[in-house]
């Protein structure tokens, strides 16, 4: 079941990790990758962890290679363990970065939709598809094992030259990848973001569920009296 596949898939990620990117890589492999904010003090870089799962592990996969979304890992772990504990079937529906992702859980008694906000393109350091696709060449084919990615020699040549001339320990200044400095844009999540507290520009807003509702499919005689409050608009309403 999907909750188990994904439940196992999130295990290698550090417990404190805030966000994760889910996407489709080369060879239609499903990729989960840790998402790191580039700290201003980038002398201490964080380890990047990636989990790659073959298409065969999923009952159904309808998505384009290169599609990817970034969302809160903590909430994701929570909903996975909920689905696991109740053995609910899980399906994930997502759209472009910035649009909400819907995690639908279901069994004979209940039907639930977890809606998570995803980071938009302007929010990410580089457009999500580009982040996921290039490095996947090596990972999607496990037996492809040469030094194709190891252009460490050019780095070393540059480093040796710098050290000899400066006599210092600092390596050559590596140009930061474009878009490393987060753009200052308020309200980076989807436009329906009116109720959100304001946050510092350039940082992702606090992670909260946008909506969570359960619809009971039991016969009306068994359901509680009174109309169920609508906690979130249905997706057709977002136009």
């Amino acid at each position: 079941p999907l909750h188990r596949v994904l439940g196992e898939a999130v295990l290698p990620f550090p417990p404190a990790l805030a966000e994760v990117t889910l996407g489709i890589g080369c060879g239609r492999r499903v990729i989960l990758r840790s998402y790191q904010e580039e700290e201003a003090d980038s002398s201490v870089r964080a380890m990047v962890t990636e989990m790659s799962i073959g298409e065969e592990d999923f009952q159904q996969l309808q998505a384009q290679e290169g599609a990817a979304i970034t969302f809160c890992l903590k909430e994701f772990r929570g909903l996975l363990s909920f689905a696991e504990s109740a053995n609910l079937s899980l399906s994930i529906h997502f759209d472009a970065p910035g649009r909400p992702a819907i995690f639908a859980v279901k069994d004979t008694l209940l039907d639930g939709h977890f809606v998570l906000a995803t980071m938009s393109e302007s929010d990410l350091h580089s457009p999500a598809p580009h982040r996921l696709v290039p490095p996947l060449q090596a990972h999607s084919t496990p037996h492809l094992d040469d030094f194709a990615n190891d252009d460490i020699d050019s780095y070393m040549i540059a480093m040796e030259t710098t050290v000899d001339s400066e006599g210092s320990r600092a390596g050559p200044s590596i140009p930061l990848s474009p878009g490393l400095r987060p753009p200052c844009s308020p309200g980076p999540y989807s436009e329906d973001n009116d109720a959100e507290p304001s946050t510092e520009p350039g940082t992702p807003p606090p992670k909260k569920f946008r909506s969570l509702f359960f619809g009971s499919i039991l016969a009306p005689a068994h359901s509680p009296p009174g109309p169920s409050p609508v906690l979130a608009e249905d997706s057709e309403g977002e136009g």
């Binding site: 380890m47 990636e50 790659s52 990972h139 094992d145 460490i152």
Partner: protein, 280 residues
């Protein structure tokens, strides 16, 4: 500069994981030295470590089914990488059910040690976990500070008691004092002492045994009962003991009076040397 290696044996992988966990407890940031025959985890006392140094060595062929490296140059056939020890330990811990583990030196915007783990999977396709551990390549100029420390001529050499026992005693002593005196003699006696204004506590270990003296010391007529002592920072001793999750195959303590205590451990086929200077 190239490095890539592979582990396929589960026992080797578990052992390597335990070694990296030990290193992570002993040094937050350490140097990994890669040479054709060995891997070393190094903490040099020049780095902010309070004067503590560590030299951990393992023979690569005891762990890796494949091992290829090319150092900086033919004359300097080694690679020195500085990394956050916990990253490596965490990455290896995710390899519990691995079919194979590969380590490679890569350059993904910045130098990384990439650990790639092929997990066992119920379906036909395998699952792959990859960790990119950022590393700093240490230039040749600084290698001289990262060489194997010379083993000092010690006054007393003694086998250590069970480390778990030692650790629980030192943990309790730590509540009373920030310094501790280790003293030992050539009759197999070792004492751990703390002395404060209010209280003195000594724990005595007896009949520990002493390793045979080196031949040139055989003529040294040291009174076997005479203690050699050194006063050290108790937290450093505790950190060292906390890193030893398993009782080692062999554990020797060498004391240079009032200067240094040198722990020389063997965990199966991995050697660990740990130096704690006298508190000054």
């Amino acid at each position: 500069m190239k490095f890539r290696a592979k582990i396929v044996d589960a026992a080797c992988l578990n052992h390597f994981t335990r070694v990296s966990a030990m290193v992570a407890k002993l040094a937050k940031i350490c140097t990994l030295r890669i040479s054709p025959q060995t891997l070393n985890f190094i903490l040099s006392d020049k780095v902010a470590g309070g004067g503590v140094s560590m030299w951990c060595e393992l023979e690569q062929e005891n762990f890796f089914s494949e091992f290829q490296m090319e150092g900086v140059s033919a004359e300097n056939n080694a690679i020195y990488l500085e990394l956050t020890s916990e990253n490596l330990s965490r990455a290896l811990k995710t390899a519990q059910n691995a079919r194979a583990l590969k380590v490679k030196l890569t350059n993904k915007h910045f130098p990384c040690l990439t650990v790639s783990i092929e997990l066992l999977s119920v379906s036909s396709s395998s699952r792959i976990v990859t960790h990119d551990i950022p590393v700093k390549v240490i230039p040749r100029k600084l290698w001289k500070d990262l060489q194997e420390p010379t083993v000092p001529n010690s006054d007393v050499s003694i086998y250590l008691p069970v480390l778990k026992t030692m650790k629980s005693i030192v943990e309790k002593m730590r509540n009373l004092s920030s310094h501790l005196i280790i003293e030992a003699n050539l009759s197999g006696d070792l004492n751990l002492k703390i002395e404060t204004e209010l209280v003195c506590v000594t724990t005595h270990f007896k009949d520990l045994g002493n390793p045979p003296l080196a031949s040139e010391d055989a003529s040294q007529d040291r009174d076997p009962e005479q203690m050699a002592e050194v006063r050290i920072d108790i937290r450093k001793l505790l950190q060292f003991l906390a890193g030893q999750q398993v009782n080692p195959t062999r554990a020797v303590c060498n004391i240079v009076s009032n200067k240094l205590v040198h722990f020389d451990l063997l965990h199966e086929d991995v050697s660990l040397q740990y130096f704690i200077p006298a508190f000054s």
